[in-house]
């Protein structure tokens, strides 16, 4: 069990991290929260005043906002879901002994190392409706018979950007799961094999339970991260065409860039509240488990 004794040690240990965070972001965040209750549009600084829940009410009558919320849910569920599945598979593959493993582990990290601006532009280039390599491959394989303008039509633009975020997020999961797998005891597998367990049983009864803390945490962090991510979509489509790739974070970014900070802050708080719906059950479970 955890040490219950009153001691100064834990406070000393958490102090540096806490101080840095509080000093740098505490006041800006409080300010942003206050802005969300004001008509804080810097294009009209003389008209800034307290408007209570005005921005929030506006958001819930704004179809762009509501669509963006829905899109964010799809974006997070599909994006993080596939990142996790593919990252997990990759981690399992890379956890085995084989020649050249180090090199393959290293190159698997490439999507993550690639600068955001380049990711957006390269994928845009790959998807291009006129010179894009994806169209060229599909045409050559006779899967399609005329080029698809992937990012120019509503039906394919959003799936297009989701594939890109999946691509970008695989290494993160792979790396974290790979690290966690190192802590799983060999003995457990040996015992299971003696009992005649199948590979699938081993996976679900040994591997996953042993690293579940890591899975929860990485999943949770990734959800927060992907929900807030802007640069992939922004560099690929800027939220278009016809708003079809405008997630909530992109909408917030657009409004913030237009200097309507009050409305942007209100939407950002809505996004944070949505994330809390995911975070709170996790924290509850986490704290409850500690007790038992």
């Amino acid at each position: 069990m955890k040490t219950k004794k009153r001691s100064i040690a834990p406070y000393l240990l958490v102090a540096p991290a806490t101080i840095i965070i509080v000093c740098v972001v505490f006041i800006p965040v409080i300010q942003a929260i206050l802005m969300s209750f004001q008509s804080y549009d810097l294009r009209r600084p003389n008209a800034i005043k307290f408007i209570g829940l005005g921005n929030y009410i506006e958001a819930f009558t704004d179809t762009q906002f509501l669509n963006a919320v829905l899109r964010t849910v799809i974006w997070v569920v599909l994006g993080v879901g596939f990142q996790f599945i593919l990252g997990f598979v990759l981690a399992l593959l890379l956890n085995r002994q084989f020649r050249g493993r180090g090199a393959i582990r290293a190159v698997s990290m490439i999507p993550w190392v690639t600068p955001g601006v380049l990711i957006g532009l390269m994928w845009r280039w790959i998807y291009d409706g006129n010179f894009g390599v994806l169209n060229d491959i599909l045409l050559k394989l006779h899967i399609i018979d005329s080029a698809i303008p992937f990012l120019s039509q509503k039906s394919t633009a959003f799936p297009g950007v989701i594939v890109t975020i999946i691509w970008q997020g695989i290494p993160f999961f792979a790396l974290m799961i790979l690290a966690a797998l190192q802590g799983v005891s060999r003995d457990l597998y040996e015992a299971a094999e003696i009992d005649g367990a199948t590979k699938a049983q081993e996976l679900f009864y040994i591997t996953i339970p042993s690293i579940k803390n890591t899975i929860y945490v990485t999943g949770l962090l990734r959800i927060i991260w992907v929900a807030n991510s802007v640069d992939v979509i922004f560099n690929m489509t800027e939220g278009g065409p016809a708003y079809s790739t405008q997630t909530l974070s992109v909408y917030i970014y657009n409004k913030a860039n237009a200097l309507n900070l009050g409305y942007a802050s209100a939407m950002a708080i809505c996004l944070a509240l949505m994330l809390l719906v995911v975070v709170i059950p996790y924290l509850r479970m986490n704290f409850k488990e500690e007790k038992s």
Binding site: A15, R43, N130, L151, P241, A258
Partner: protein, 457 residues
Amino acid sequence: MKKHPVTRKAASILAASTMAAGLLAGCGGAASGTTTAGGATTKGASTAAATTKAAAGAATTKAASGSAEPVTIKFQYWADNTDYSQLMQDIIKKFNETNGKNITVVGEEQPWDGGAYSENLFNAKMGGSDVDVSTWKLTSTPLYVNNDLLLDLTPYIDKWDKKGDIEDNIYNVMKQAGGDNSKIYVMPWNIQVLYVYYRPSIFEKAGIDHTPTTYQEFLDDIKKCTMDTDGDGKTDVYGFGMRGAKGGQEPWGSFIYGEGGSFDDLTSAGSVQGMQDFIDLYKNGYVPPTATSDGFNEIIANFKSGLTAMTIHHTGSSKDMEATFGDDVSAFAFPAGKGQWTSMGDTETVIFKSCKHPEAAFEWVSYLATGEGQKMWCEGTGNVPVSKTVSQGDFFQNNRFMKASLEGESYAGILPILDTTTEWISTTWPNTVAQALTGEISTEDCMKTLQEGLYGK
């Protein structure tokens, strides 16, 4: 919840930030981040200092009189490519060596960032940045003027000996952007007039023997140039490269005016008809199907690869076009229909109110507007000069693209500069037009949304 009419001024940001800084000072020692920073800081700062010293040294040697106090002006700019970046650095160097007034301009480059340059700079200025002078786009003027960040240049221009070297109508455009039509906050630098690029060889193939003289003829030529050259039933050459992504409002405006519409009333019959023409081109396959997301890169790539026969841009891309096609590319000014309009792109400079040496800063911006800086920049980039003297030079008189630009200058205009314009350009226009192109909303609804986006409901 009850509404309280409590007024919170923008200044609250500053007050709270001061609190933040106070808080920080209290805990500075504990933040281990700061310790590491210390060592690195010195290096960065000393490099900067070295640069300044070298530049200042050069300035003092040349300035034989040496009577004036040394002054440093912090100048921020964006460069559209590495050549322009080099060119700007050369101009700065030349100014520092020759101004004779002990002024040293220190250039700081920032990314164009898809137009977010202005917002990034705004955030920095609101946070207390010490930039003195910056390159500029007219559309962001209201934002900065409303927040009281720009220096009123009117008194400086009035007593400036070269005031007459710039056309009055250019000053008028600058005044309009300032809001109350009396003050000039923005110093003219260079302009770009949009015209139509075309490929003579494709025109010939389509049986067109002269460039269009009317708007209707232009639309017909787009249709004629749309061809299936290899007989496989698919279009290989599109008549026109339409820009549907951000920035597309500029060429689009010419269609609106071609049918007699205008930016003043986007819901008028003429404006709606212009939009309809635009949609018809897309629906009937006279422009590439990617048009809804095509930005500058794409329209240029499509034109350069021969996929499109015509597209609209300005002299900024003419060098590149000539390098690709030699003689097989030319230009004409956007033809007249019921009305005639083409977009005037603009780049200016501003001086911020926070600048401690406005006289010296004005010396620098005027060097860019009419002096050697103007000549070097416009010759190097192919932009249209604002200085009458400079535009008389051979370079500008003997160029076919410059000719199309100067032809269009008489009816070239800019979007109404309102505080809504920037957002309208970056999100409202591209998304609403894409909705209309794909048939999601009607032409009338599209124009209504655009009207409201600009002027409010």
